[in-house]
């Protein structure tokens, strides 16, 4: 935040100095208006009519994004438990269990379009990234304790799962509406944005050694929508080239994973040898914080 304030101050300084780098063409800037002069008549809405506005409505920013899920989860929930597994576990949440999602760094591209409204301060952006490799981790009792330690009072030998649960490729397209806080004439353009995102996942698979020892369960993750708040800046470095610093927080993104046909070995119960657990359901609040740094061009 301090860096953001510094950048804002920097923008202000650049305007005042009238240096080579035109950081702002925003005539509406109260600090820039001559108090005794009448206001100029409104200009026709031409792309190049606004000081500092390049006239390029499309822009892109390419760089890297660090996706940091601020995840929390509900307790892992079992369903369709029947057969021998029902002697050890019941349908419903596993007390103290949980899951989270690991951070990831991906190349990401922002494609934006500056809308010809609000003095060209409003843009619509879409963030596209390479598929995100999402790793699900077990937490709490799910990681540290056997989910089925006993059946009929008999130790099953089913071990604690450990931290590794599964992984999936995720594509979290984000669309935001971005409002530039300063006029287009400013080289430094802080902005705020709001938008929506949906986490699409594919290629989900369980990777936990205990859960895949017998067979590979089926894992599926439903698309997880979320809403986005965004803050960042564009810094014009040369003509249409901009440096982009951007932080997004996607809230309300609940990833619902479902793992079916889980079979586990019961080494202490050789009579059964293997039991089919049924279905495990995980609900993880992903809520990622996406920090992105990129360089782009307006055109």
């Amino acid at each position: 935040m301090k860096a953001l304030i510094a950048l804002l101050l920097l923008g202000r300084v650049a305007y005042a100095d009238g240096g080579e780098i035109d950081l702002s063409d925003d005539t509406t800037d109260p600090g820039a208006a001559k108090k005794d002069e009448p206001a100029p008549p409104p200009r026709p809405a031409k792309d190049k009519g606004r000081p500092g506005f390049s006239g390029h409505r499309f822009y892109f920013r390419a760089g890297v994004a660090q996706v940091i899920p601020l995840s929390s989860s509900r307790e892992l929930e079992l369903a369709d438990v029947d057969g021998a597994a029902s002697l050890a576990v019941k349908n419903g949440p596993i007390a103290g269990s949980g899951a989270d999602i690991a951070s990831a760094t991906i190349p990401a591209v922002i494609i934006g379009y500056t809308l010809p409204v609000l003095h060209d301060r409003l843009s619509i952006e879409a963030i596209l990234g390479t598929p995100l490799n999402v790793k699900f981790h077990a937490t709490g009792t799910l990681a540290n304790e056997s989910i089925a330690p006993m059946a009929l009072g008999i130790p099953t030998g089913v071990p604690a799962l450990g931290p590794e649960l599964g992984e999936a490729k995720a594509i979290p397209p984000v669309v935001t509406l971005v409002y530039k806080l300063l006029g287009t004439e400013h080289a430094f353009q802080p902005f705020l944005g709001l938008g929506a995102s949906v986490l699409f996942q594919y290629g989900a698979k369980v990777t936990n050694p205990t859960l895949i020892e017998v067979s590979q369960p089926t894992m599926s993750i439903a698309p997880a929508p979320g809403f986005v708040v965004q803050g960042g800046f564009d810094l014009r470095v040369h003509k249409g080239w901009h440096l982009r610093g951007d932080v997004k927080y996607i809230a309300g993104m609940l990833a619902r994973a479902r793992v079916e046909h889980i079979q586990v070995k019961t080494p202490s119960l050789p009579l059964f040898d293997t039991v089919e657990v049924g279905t495990a359901k995980m609900s993880v609040w992903v809520n990622p914080l996406i920090a992105q740094l990129g360089l782009g061009y307006d055109f």
């Binding site: 021998a84 029902s86 019941k90 009929l152 009072g153 119960l269 050789p270 059964f272 293997t274």
Partner: protein, 931 residues
């Protein structure tokens, strides 16, 4: 996915349902593709039907032969989707139980359900530390020969060579040895079987020693509560047995088809270490625990009230029950995980004590059933392990029959894990005994029954808790048998006549340790007085109790009715009753034509082909012969009893306590010196097996213990079986006649009582409707009772007759013989009907009365083949010890005119007034019957 019996199961009761269950619904129209076959593949005549749920095929109680191996062939048409059916040969095979005596020496046919020859290498049921060792013999074992003794049965610790303390329980062909403490895994033990073990006719067992090494199955004891599954409890929707769950189904004409349902009950089980057997899990249900089932409202053939209610039926685990869970044998070897299509198998073997809450019902029902093989499946679902087992057992009924019973038990692990077993804090209470306390007349060969309200701890009883002592309080060697909530104290040797004994209940406790206050009761044996009257037969089944001449009894009138040809159903024994105790060593069963004093021979064309192999069970005053194989319908057999040609008791002759050879022609005289004479020879033909219930009803108690034909000094008068005669008139040369005594002071007249003894083998048939009754009435329904026409012997009465007003002579009738006549059109029948809620027997007896030995000076009389007609009616009840009692009395006056011929004629008119003939016929003791 499931069969009952399981493959290679031995000792399967012959009345078992045979079940094949699939994972999917079967093709109902293809039920006939499931076939029951013999060991050689020959189809057995039995029809398979599809179970109600449509997933199984069942043979309901097929008429299997005992001791026979069968297979079940399952054609693919019944379930084309089935993947595990053999392309040829049977899917499974099993061997039925044989519980009848055999002529050969007894042998061991199974230990832990396994052929002894295979036990060491391929046990059908492995031995665990907690196991009860269960033996099955080839024939019933004399319970007196089974004790914890190296010459009988003893388990010995291989390390110390010391006996392992154990409770040994024997019942029929089964013996269970339940070590007091669990055995040590891996330790070698030796089961010693000695030649003291013998069968019912005294053949001894060839000694054997069987090494046993229990497998290690125990780790930390894992306790489970198994309880009966209720209607709302979780568990699988469908049964695997195709039968109603938690139901004992009994099907026997004697009581009809009836069921008893398990009430909510719980058992504590102990699971062994699941890894110990690398798959199978051993488990144990400790003795003393109980299941409760709904009572039976016993109705004869399901229709005639018996007056007997059982109250709730209790089933107590008598010895530690052991079993195991193991992979479904029809599951593909590589199939993982287990699934509903092939649930885990369960094998549980248990010995139970069955008894009833109602004392009367308990007296009838109490029984011990050993070696119940409950096999089934365990399905884990809804958080419970639902164990459904199927068992077949031979259930004793009313003490006179054994009913095949199929028992489907479904237990679930209690999800709540709450102990639901009521603790037992009440000590056993003695309810009844046979004989009753302070009574006399106990047969010397019978066991003494003590009936409690719950089973007692046999170990404590055997350790001196229950003793038989004589009049001087000396211990009398005896074994203690378990019969549900009853025990039988069975002397190793017959008791002495005319002696007083005590049953000392010094330490009687239940399995929970609740001890009763010590008590003692006394009884006396039959008072036997010496006699010189020869022994004779009172009943011969099949046949008549006399030598035959021209189809009727020798010595009778030529005009006497001839007996109908004798037949014997394939499944019934020969029974012979005598009028006095036999001299045991004069009884020898012939093993070849013309040999022995008791001969049972197959005849063809009047020539003996061979002696019939079988077992002769010798009792104090009766014999029973059971053939090794059922009688062949249409084949002629001959029963011969050898008496010799003079009255002396010579070698190879049957003799009684009089020291004389037996006399089988009582109509030729039954006085001193009348022994010997014609052998008894009865030809009979084998007949198809009968579904009727066979019972030997005997006049009990009776007075003439020594068969002398008179009431001797020590003999107690038994009013239950007597005919009281009055003299109503006299005429001719008889100018006065009277009885000097009065045996029934309750009447104004003088009566003289003839005390009766005899036996009547009867067959209780199946329910009939619209029954015309002998008394002229009719009944909507009845149980027809086929009565074998036998003989009753009546004691002498003395009449003071004045002849021509000159002299008064006391005349003894001597032994009177009352022969039951057969109706011309068929067998003698009686009928049991419902009379105001009381089962009542009605029969019409046509008798010939003979008093051959009555002698009148210078006169003769006509008490020879004197016809008498009686309508006898009386209730059928159950005694406190459970025996069936048929107490008949005559419904109308019967006049007996004795005509005397002398210089001139005379007559004495006698009257057997209404209700003055009393005939109480009892079944034999349920548990204490002579062995």
């Amino acid at each position: 996915m499931f069969t009952f019996p399981i493959d290679h199961q031995l000792d399967v009761p012959v009345g078992s349902n045979i079940v094949v269950t699939f994972s999917e619904k079967v093709v109902a129209s293809a039920a006939s593709s499931v076939k029951l076959v013999g060991a050689d593949g020959t189809p057995f005549d039995a029809t398979a039907t599809v179970t109600d749920e449509g997933t199984g095929v069942i043979f309901s109680g097929p008429a299997l032969a005992p001791g026979t191996t069968y297979g079940v062939v399952v054609g693919s048409a019944i379930d084309p989707s089935a993947k595990n059916l053999p392309t040829s040969g049977p899917l499974f095979s099993f061997t039925t139980r044989s519980a009848t005596p055999k002529s050969a020496a007894p042998s061991l046919i199974a230990i832990q359900g396994t052929d002894p020859a295979l036990f060491a290498t391929a046990p059908h049921r492995p031995l665990f530390e907690t196991s009860t060792i269960r033996l099955v013999f080839s024939e019933p074992i004399d319970p007196r020969s089974v004790v914890d003794d190296p010459a009988s049965i003893q388990l010995v610790d291989g390390a110390t060579n010391m006996p392992v303390p154990a409770v040994v329980v024997a019942n029929g062909i089964h013996v269970s040895i339940d070590p007091v403490d669990d055995l040590a895994a891996g330790q070698t033990y030796t089961l010693k079987l000695g030649n003291r073990i013998r069968d019912l006719d005294g053949h001894t067992f060839i000694p054997a020693q069987i090494p046993l090494t229990p497998l290690a199955t125990r780790g930390t004891v894992i306790k489970q509560i198994l309880r009966t599954r209720g209607a709302t409890d979780p568990g699988p929707k469908q049964t695997r047995s195709g039968a109603a769950r938690n139901t004992i189904a009994i099907d026997k004409p004697l009581i009809g088809k009836t069921t008893s349902n398990l009430n909510n009950s719980a058992l504590h089980a102990e699971l062994g270490n699941p890894k110990a057997l690398d798959g199978p899990i051993a488990f144990t249900i400790r003795k003393g625990q109980r299941l409760t089932a709904s009572g039976l409202d016993v109705k004869l053939d399901g229709a005639i009230p018996s007056g007997l209610a059982t109250g709730d039926i209790q089933i107590e685990i008598l010895t530690d029950a052991d079993g195991r869970l193991y992979r479904n044998p029809y599951q593909a070897a590589g199939q993982r995980p287990e699934n509903q299509n092939a649930p885990v198998y369960v094998d549980l073997v248990l010995d139970v004590a069955v008894y009833a809450t109602d004392p009367g019902g308990n007296a009838v029902l109490a029984q011990t059933i050993l070696g119940i093989q409950a096999t089934g499946t365990a399905v884990a679902t809804d958080g419970v392990l639902a164990i459904e087992t199927v068992a077949a057992m031979d259930f004793g009924l009313l003490g006179i029959a054994t009913a095949p019973s199929n028992f489907v038990m479904e237990l679930i692990t209690d999800p709540a894990g709450v102990p639901a077993v009521d603790s037992d804090t009440a000590a056993p209470t003695m309810l009844a005994s046979y004989p009753e306390a302070e009574t006399d007349g106990q047969p010397v060969g019978a066991g003494i029954e003590v009936i409690f309200d719950e089973p007692i701890d046999l170990a404590r009883a055997n350790a001196g808790g229950v003793r038989l002592t004589d009049a001087s309080n000396g211990d009398v060697a005896a074994v203690i048998e378990s019969h549900g909530a009853a025990i039988v104290v069975r002397p190793l040797a017959p008791l002495k006549y005319s002696s007083r004994y005590h049953i000392v209940l010094a330490d009687v406790a239940d399995q929970s340790g609740n001890a009763a206050v010590g008590t003692t009761f006394a009884f006396s044996t039959e008072a036997l007085q010496n006699t010189n009257i020869p022994i004779t037969v009172s009943s011969v089944y099949p046949g008549a109790a006399c030598t035959l001449t021209g189809g009727h009894c020798t010595g009778g009138k030529s005009s006497d009715d001839s007996y109908h040809p004798f037949t014997l159903p394939a499944n019934e024994p020969i029974e012979v009753g005598f009028t006095q105790p036999l001299v045991a060593n004069t009884i020898a069963l012939g093993t070849a034509c013309g040999k022995g004093t008791v001969r049972v021979e197959e005849f063809a064309g009047g020539t003996c082909k061979a002696a019939v192999p079988g077992t002769l069970i010798r009792r104090d005053r009766s014999l029973q012969f059971v053939p090794d194989v059922p009688w062949t319908p249409g084949t002629t057999y001959r029963l011969s009893l050898i008496s010799g040609n003079n009255s002396g008791c010579d070698a190879n002759e049957i003799c009684g306590i009089s020291g004389d050879a037996a006399s089988f022609d009582p109509l030729n005289g039954m006085t001193n010196g009348d022994g010997g004479g014609n052998n008894l020879s009865i030809d009979f033909a084998g007949a198809p097996a009968s579904t009727s219930t066979f019972m030997v009803a005997e006049t009990t108690p009776f007075t003439d213990i020594n068969g002398s034909g008179t009431v001797d000094g020590a003999e107690a008068l038994r009013d239950e079986n007597r005919a009281a005669l009055r003299i109503t008139d006299h005429s001719g040369i008889v100018t006065n006649a009277q009885f000097n005594s009065d045996c029934d002071p309750s009447t104004p007249e003088h009566e003289a009582c003839m005390y009766l003894q005899g036996g009547m083998p009867v067959e209780m048939g199946e329910l009939s409707t619209s029954c015309p009754l002998p008394d002229g009435s009719s009944a909507a329904s009845c149980i027809p009772v086929k009565i074998s026409a036998q003989t009753m012997y009546a004691t002498s009465i003395t009449m003071a007759a004045t002849i021509a007003g000159i002299a008064t002579i006391n005349t003894d009738t001597k032994t009177s013989v009352m022969r039951v006549r057969e109706p011309a059109g068929g067998p003698l029948m009686g009928y049991i009907v419902d009379r105001n809620g009381t089962p009542t027997m009605i029969t019409a007896l046509e008798l010939y009365m003979d008093a051959h030995d009555m002698s009148l000076p210078l006169s003769s009389h006509d008490l020879h083949s004197k016809p008498m007609s009686l309508i006898l009616v009386g209730p059928v009840t159950f005694l406190a010890d459970g025996r069936i009692a048929i107490a008949l009395t005559n419904t109308a006056d019967v006049e007996i005119d004795v005509n005397i011929s002398s210089i001139t004629a005379g007559q004495v008119k006698m009257l057997l007034a209404k209700d003055q003939m009393k005939l109480q016929l009892l079944s034999r003791p349920i548990r204490g019957v002579e062995r």
